[in-house]
Structure formats: structure tokens, C-alpha cells
């Protein structure tokens, strides 16, 4: 068989139900609403890094589960999150993305907790505590963050709106196979180490961690090899590791610099992507310049990697958004190594569990129970 007619195109891929996803997950407004209620209003969501609120009263705003939110440093290491709506008209109190907050009186508080300087909130009073929710998903960063005499700080923040469903962006992080798309990864990452040296781990609650990646920065013209002295504690300069936390946050380390991504749905077809770069607080101007350069080479708005992910997410939207593409296949199995799709499968298994709909047939009531049985990783 070569090309397929309409009927063949409409047949689900001949792989297990856990190994493909229906295009409806990207475009059904009812699914979008269910995601807000059953996922975003229930999970812990990264709000801001402590360095963005350096003093008592400093706040940072963000959007979560369609709510205008803020998080404020109360005293010392205590942070509090609120829904930024007050009064009968629900007016927003805070004028900008960051500043000093005089009072939070009248705002509805939400549960707030911090780990390693990353401040999280949840709108669900019944949610398990943050440590239980994260489990051991961030263990690959333990050496980077724990037992350090210094702290990290955000030196870079940018936002972009991509014309795609939020999951299409998150997939670019969960999907190792797409490194073929990135010129810079084809040059620096794929030849750096054996595929079998990589390790993809699935954690509870849909989180994933990926380690064992390396980069030969000297392989890309205009990049320089990163030296041992430039590396962050706990990392070698050629190290790359990352943890996509379900559903919307990713912490990424690339030897000398850190990035945190957050994905916020604005509608079934529009997504706000926020990206932070982190370095060491109090480091020398020369070290900071080095870290900014390393960050921007890959991850800046004009960097070599991140804009390509936006093309990918929007290219998927063009096919899924109006129903031309009907399924995507996430069927690579390399035993948790190489370019295994198990990270994508872990994401969609958790998505299916929380929504009560299998991602392979999310609008088909008859298939729900079958898919839930078969869809587990």
C-alpha cells in the first residue's frame, strides 16, 4: 500500500491504543473545557522563581486555569498565591507582571509551596502536597540544587503566543525523536554519545525525566566548547538533562545554564509559552555574560532551537486544528533509551486518567473503558 484513500486514512494506526493519539484532543472545545476543570484546576503549577520576588511584598502575576493569579513573598522564604480578583466585579488589583504589593486583602488565597526556589500553586484544596505530587521526578537535579551555599536567579524571561494547542508545545519537550528537526541538535547532541546511554524515566503523576544526554558544542560552527570551570555544580559542561512535569512545566539543564518553560492554554488553538533562564546569583559579570550567551545560543527568542519548536507546534495545528490529520503515532519503543516515545505515552496516560477519556478515542464513549484499560503504560 502506498497512498491511502479517505476510509483508510480514517482507520486508527495499527498499534496498541496507548501508542497513538486522536486529533480530537487538540480541537474539541469540550475537551479543552474538561482539561481546565480536571487537569489545570487540580495540579500543582510552577508560578515563579523566588528570585523574581526578591523582597517581602514583591509579587509576580501569571495566568493559570483561566484565572489571573499572583504569588507574593510574604516574609523570608514564605510565599503565598492568590487569585487576583477582588470585589463583586472581580477587578484585578495588580497593575503589571511584577512589583510591590501593598495588600492582598480581599483576594482568594490558594495553596502555595516551594521546592529549591521554585514556587508552585494549586487551586485544588484536596490536592496532595507538592512533594507528593512531584515524587522523585526532580531527582536528576538533586546535585544541582541541594546543599549549595549559593542560590539561583532568573536572568531571562520571555513570552510568546503560539497558534497551536498547548499539548503540541509540550510534546516538543517530551519527544526526543524530533531532535532530527533541530540543526543544532543533529550536530551537537546526536553524535555526542550513544543512544543507549540515554535514560527516560516515567514517574508518578505523569512526570518524566531524561538524562544521559551530552553535547559536543564545538561541532556547531560559531559555538565554543564549554569548559569545566563554566559548568554548574553537579553537572559536567556537556551535560543535558530535563524533567517535564505534568502537565505544563519543564526544568532543563544544559551544563552551564538552566531553563524553565511553562505552557499556558489560552484556548484550544492558542498557547502562551513562557521561558526563564537561570544562572547563579552574585556571579561575576563575565560569568553572567557567558551564561546568557550559552542560554541564548539554544533557547533565546532568536536562538537556534526554540523557534523551530514553535514551527513544529504550529505545523501540527494546521493539520489537527481543522481535522485534516486524524491521529498521531507515539509508538517508538527503545526500552526507555534513545528516542523512545515513552515520555509522550506517560503524558497521555496521565492525561487520559485525569480526563476519564482515552487519548486515542477521547470522544467515543464506547471506547473509554477499553482505552483506559489498554492505555496504561
Amino acid at each position: 500500500m502506498t497512498a491511502r484513500n479517505a476510509q483508510a486514512w480514517a482507520n486508527p494506526p495499527r498499534v496498541p491504543p496507548s501508542h497513538f493519539v486522536s486529533g480530537w484532543v487538540y480541537r474539541d472545545p469540550a475537551i479543552y473545557d474538561a482539561e481546565q476543570a480536571k487537569i489545570f484546576r487540580r495540579v500543582w503549577r510552577f508560578a515563579a522563581h523566588e528570585s523574581e520576588m526578591p523582597e517581602a511584598g514583591a509579587y509576580r502575576t501569571f495566568v493559570h486555569a483561566c484565572e489571573p493569579m499572583m504569588v507574593v513573598r510574604e516574609t523570608g522564604d514564605r510565599f503565598a498565591g492568590f487569585i487576583d480578583r477582588a470585589g463583586p466585579a472581580g477587578a484585578r488589583l495588580l497593575p503589571g507582571p511584577a512589583g510591590q504589593c501593598r495588600s492582598t486583602r480581599g483576594l482568594r488565597p490558594c495553596r502555595t509551596a516551594a521546592k529549591w526556589g521554585f514556587v508552585f500553586v494549586t487551586l485544588d484544596p484536596e490536592a496532595p502536597d507538592l512533594d507528593s505530587y512531584l515524587g522523585d521526578a526532580l531527582d536528576i537535579f538533586r546535585d544541582v540544587f541541594e546543599g549549595r551555599e549559593f542560590s539561583y536567579e532568573v536572568f531571562h524571561f520571555h513570552q510568546a503566543i503560539v497558534e497551536a494547542n498547548w499539548k503540541a508545545w509540550q510534546e516538543t519537550i517530551l519527544d526526543l525523536y524530533h531532535e532530527f528537526m533541530h540543526v543544532v541538535l543533529r550536530r551537537t547532541q546526536m553524535p555526542a554519545t550513544a543512544m543507549t546511554a540515554r535514560s527516560l524515566r516515567q514517574h508518578r503523576n505523569g512526570h518524566v525525566s531524561i538524562g544521559g544526554l551530552r553535547a559536543l558544542y564545538g561541532n556547531y560552527q560559531a559555538y565554543r566548547v564549554r569548559s569545566e570551570g563554566e559548568a554548574l555544580p553537579g553537572l559536567t559542561p556537556d551535560d543535558a538533562r530535563f524533567t517535564p512535569l505534568f502537565p505544563d512545566t519543564t526544568i532543563i539543564a544544559r551544563g552551564t545554564v538552566l531553563r524553565v518553560d511553562t505552557v499556558t492554554p489560552l484556548g484550544p488553538h492558542r498557547t502562551l509559552v513562557e521561558s526563564r533562564g537561570l544562572g547563579i546569583k552574585g556571579e561575576s559579570p563575565a560569568d553572567r555574560r557567558m551564561r546568557i550567551r550559552h542560554h541564548n545560543d539554544y533557547w533565546g527568542p532568536l536562538g537556534r532551537n526554540v523557534p523551530e519548536d514553535a514551527y513544529a507546534a504550529e505545523a501540527c495545528e494546521r493539520a489537527f486544528g481543522r481535522g485534516a490529520a486524524l491521529f498521531q503515532t507515539i509508538a517508538r519503543d527503545e526500552d526507555g533509551r534513545g528516542q523512545d516515545d515513552c515520555g509522550l505515552r506517560a503524558f497521555y496516560a496521565e492525561w487520559s486518567r485525569r480526563l476519564g477519556r482515552p487519548a486515542c478515542a477521547p470522544t467515543n464513549a464506547d471506547a473509554i473503558s477499553r482505552g483506559e484499560q489498554e492505555g496504561k503504560p
Partner: protein, 400 residues
């Protein structure tokens, strides 16, 4: 009665139901959803002219009501069309408008496909051994493709009637101009998005009466031949054509009469014929040159219009220059005619889009001649049949 109060304004016009159209056909989202499903997913759509893919491995991409399409001429010279969608993770594969390649590679994961839609390469395919996924399982989705008088039509419905049967005799008048001798080729392509429902544009191609709007037509067309010479023909399936129009180009300052030497085969230089293919194609021949419109809804209130200009394949440079000038005088983006149609369509949107206008009247009857509204009625007759909603009252329960 002079001006009308709200109640009177809401009453349907006092003409037969076939002779007016409810404003809901332009603004109701459920009507638009039905149009997509019952009209655009089932009718033949003009993708391009065959001259746009003249050589083996030439391709042209098209967006058809949200479905990205890829038109390719194969090594066997046959033109095929596929969804421009990677079966792996759903990404749009080809992003260029046109080009030539033997291999279409999706930029996301580098899966490759050939000109007959077969998957030819999956990088590190061993990752699929466990589930047994093979290249043979993941070909592109092929779309039915047929050609008539050089026009490449596609249909998303594999069960649709063949193109020849669908068109009937609707394009017969164009067979001579488009296929005699060396045939035609596209020399002009432009597109624009207008802020109106798609039907408001197509109406400008179905409505002879609105020639009053066009300064150029008032000067060159209305005075050139008696209105009784015109003949409107309504074809099965909602297609229409009109003959008997002429133009005296020299009546407009700055234009000159056209030389019969440049006339397209079987036409006179002052001839003007046009036809529409339901739902959204118009073919116009103005003696020495041709224009083809394709109207594609983006949503209920935004429409993509694509215009093509055609001349004779193998024209001398001088003749081509003359044809381009003739085309652009009326139909270029800065021509004297087409921009006025955009004003008309957008003005109608301003009335209908939010419900201020309630009905439009298409009740002119001149015995199929003059400025008869017969073409508009034919369009809405077919529209009603296909959507199952009478255009005069589309919010009624669908017809059986």
C-alpha cells in the same frame, strides 16, 4: 410605506421564497458548519491550473477550508493530490507555495514521501520494531483529482460523482479558449483575505445587476450591446454561465480597443463570457485574457480569494505584455474592477455580519437576459438542496 419600524424590518420580503435570502446564511455558525460538511467536503474544488505543475515532480500547495493539500505531478506525468499532512505526528509537511522535488520530507522528524504518496524513509526505523509499524502502513492520504480544460479539481469525498458528470456543460463555452492550440498558462496569481462571508464574494460573480457599481462597466459594458443579447444559462448542480456580453474598451479614457489578433481561440477581442462552478469558482474570459477566482472560506466572516490570470502558452513577449495589461486593467490588484467587488462584499458583511440587515432580495426576472438574478437563484437553490436548509429561512429544521 416609507421607512420601517423593527417589526416591519424583520418581515421577509413580499416576493417568492426562492427570490430572497436570509441574512443568517452569512452569520450563523451552525450554517457555516453545515456548509463545510455538506458542501465543501463533498464538491469539486479547483486546486490549480495544470500549467502550475508543468513538469514531473512539480508541486503546488493549497489550503482548502482548513485542509492543507499538496498537488504533485508524478514521473508518469499524472497529477495527484494528497493531504499535506505527515501521518506520523500530524505536522504540515510542505510549507512552500510551489517547487520541484522527488522527495517530500517532513521537517519535524524527517519522514519522507514520494510523488505517489508512499512513505520512503523513516529515520531510525528500528524504534518501531516492537509494534511492527512499517513504511507501507503510513502512506499519505490521497485525494481524488481530475482535470477539465486544464483545470485541476480535487474532491475530499471518495464517493463523489466524477468531475465530468458534476460539471455537465457548465464550462463548455471555455473549451475552445482554454484548450485549442497550445492551451493556456497562468501568468498571474495573487490572493487576499477579505472580511466577509465567502458567499458575498461569490455573489459578485453571480450578480449581473451590480455592473452599475463598476465605473468601468458602466462605460465599457452597458453601452456595448443591448441587454437583450445577454443569455444566462443555469446548469445542473448549481453552476451558471452567461454569454452575449461585449465591451467597448475605448470608451474608458486611457484604454484602447483590443486587437482581434490577440483574441483567445474561438473568441472575439470584445467578447466577455463568464461562468461559475458551484460553490466557489468563477471563470471569466475577456476576449484576450482570462481570470479564474477561487473563493475559500476561512470562517463565517473571513474569506480567502485567489485570482489567476491566464494567457496563451508560448505567447511572444509583446503579446504577453498586452495580455497582462488587459488583465490588470480590470482584474489586477490595482485594477479598476476587482477592488470594487471587495468593497461590495465587505459592505454586505457590515450589514449582515452582526444582524443589521435581515434579508437580501434576488428577485430580478428578465427572462434569463439583461440583469436577471437567475444565476443568484440557481446558486441558492443548490445551496439549499445541499445544506438541507432553505436559504430564505436557514434556521428552519433541516429539510428531509
Amino acid at each position: 410605506m416609507s421607512a420601517r419600524a423593527a417589526e416591519a424590518w424583520s418581515k421577509p420580503p413580499a416576493v417568492p421564497e426562492t427570490h430572497y435570502v436570509s441574512g443568517l446564511v452569512y452569520s450563523d455558525e451552525s450554517v457555516f458548519a453545515d456548509e463545510k460538511r455538506r458542501i465543501f467536503d463533498r464538491t469539486w474544488h479547483l486546486a490549480c491550473h495544470e500549467s502550475e505543475v508543468p513538469e514531473p515532480y512539480d508541486f503546488r500547495t493549497v489550503d482548502y477550508v482548513g485542509t492543507p493539500l499538496l498537488v504533485v505531478r508524478g514521473a508518469d506525468r499524472r497529477i495527484r493530490t494528497f493531504f499535506n499532512v505527515c501521518p506520523h505526528r500530524g505536522a504540515k509537511i510542505v510549507h512552500e507555495l510551489s517547487g520541484n522535488t522527488k522527495r517530500f520530507t517532513c521537517f519535524y522528524h524527517l519522514w519522507s514521501f514520494d510523488a505517489v504518496g508512499a512513505c520512503t524513509d523513516i529515520p531510525r526505523q528500528e524504534g518501531y520494531q516492537t509494534v511492527g509499524l512499517k513504511k507501507d502502513d503510513v502512506g499519505l492520504r490521497e485525494v481524488r483529482t481530475e482535470i477539465h480544460v486544464g483545470l485541476v479539481f480535487v474532491n475530499l469525498d471518495d464517493q463523489a460523482t466524477p468531475l465530468g458528470q458534476y460539471l455537465g456543460k457548465a464550462l463548455d463555452a471555455f473549451e475552445g479558449p482554454m484548450t485549442a492550440g497550445k492551451g493556456l498558462e497562468v501568468f498571474h496569481y495573487n490572493r487576499a483575505i477579505i472580511q466577509s462571508n465567502w458567499k458575498a464574494w461569490q455573489e459578485t460573480n453571480l450578480d449581473v445587476y451590480h455592473e452599475f457599481m463598476h465605473v468601468l462597466l458602466r462605460r465599457t459594458q452597458m453601452t456595448a450591446a443591448p441587454l437583450e443579447d445577454r443569455k444566462v444559462t443555469v446548469h445542473p448542480n448549481g453552476h451558471t454561465s452567461i454569454a452575449g456580453l461585449r465591451a467597448k474598451y475605448e470608451y474608458y479614457k486611457g484604454m484602447q480597443s483590443r486587437d482581434d489578433r490577440l483574441a483567445l481561440p474561438t473568441l472575439r477581442a470584445d467578447d466577455f463570457i463568464f461562468g461559475t462552478v458551484f460553490p466557489h469558482v468563477a471563470v471569466l474570459a475577456r476576449g484576450t485574457t482570462m481570470r479564474i477566482d477561487v473563493v475559500t472560506p476561512l470562517d463565517a466572516h473571513r474569506t480567502l480569494i485567489e485570482w489567476r490570470g491566464l494567457g496563451v502558452r508560448g505567447d511572444s513577449a509583446e503579446d504577453r505584455q498586452a495580455r497582462v495589461r488587459h488583465h490588470n486593467q480590470y482584474w489586477g490588484p490595482f485594477g479598476r474592477n476587482v477592488p470594487e467587488d471587495a468593497y461590495a462584499a465587505e459592505a454586505a458583511e457590515m450589514g449582515f455580519g452582526r444582524g443589521a440587515a435581515r434579508f437580501q432580495v434576488i428577485a430580478r426576472d428578465e427572462g434569463g437576459s439583461g440583469q436577471d438574478d437567475g444565476m443568484l437563484r440557481a446558486f441558492y437553490g443548490e445551496w439549499s438542496r445541499r445544506t438541507g436548509r432553505p436559504a430564505a429561512n436557514p434556521s428552519n429544521a433541516p429539510m428531509a
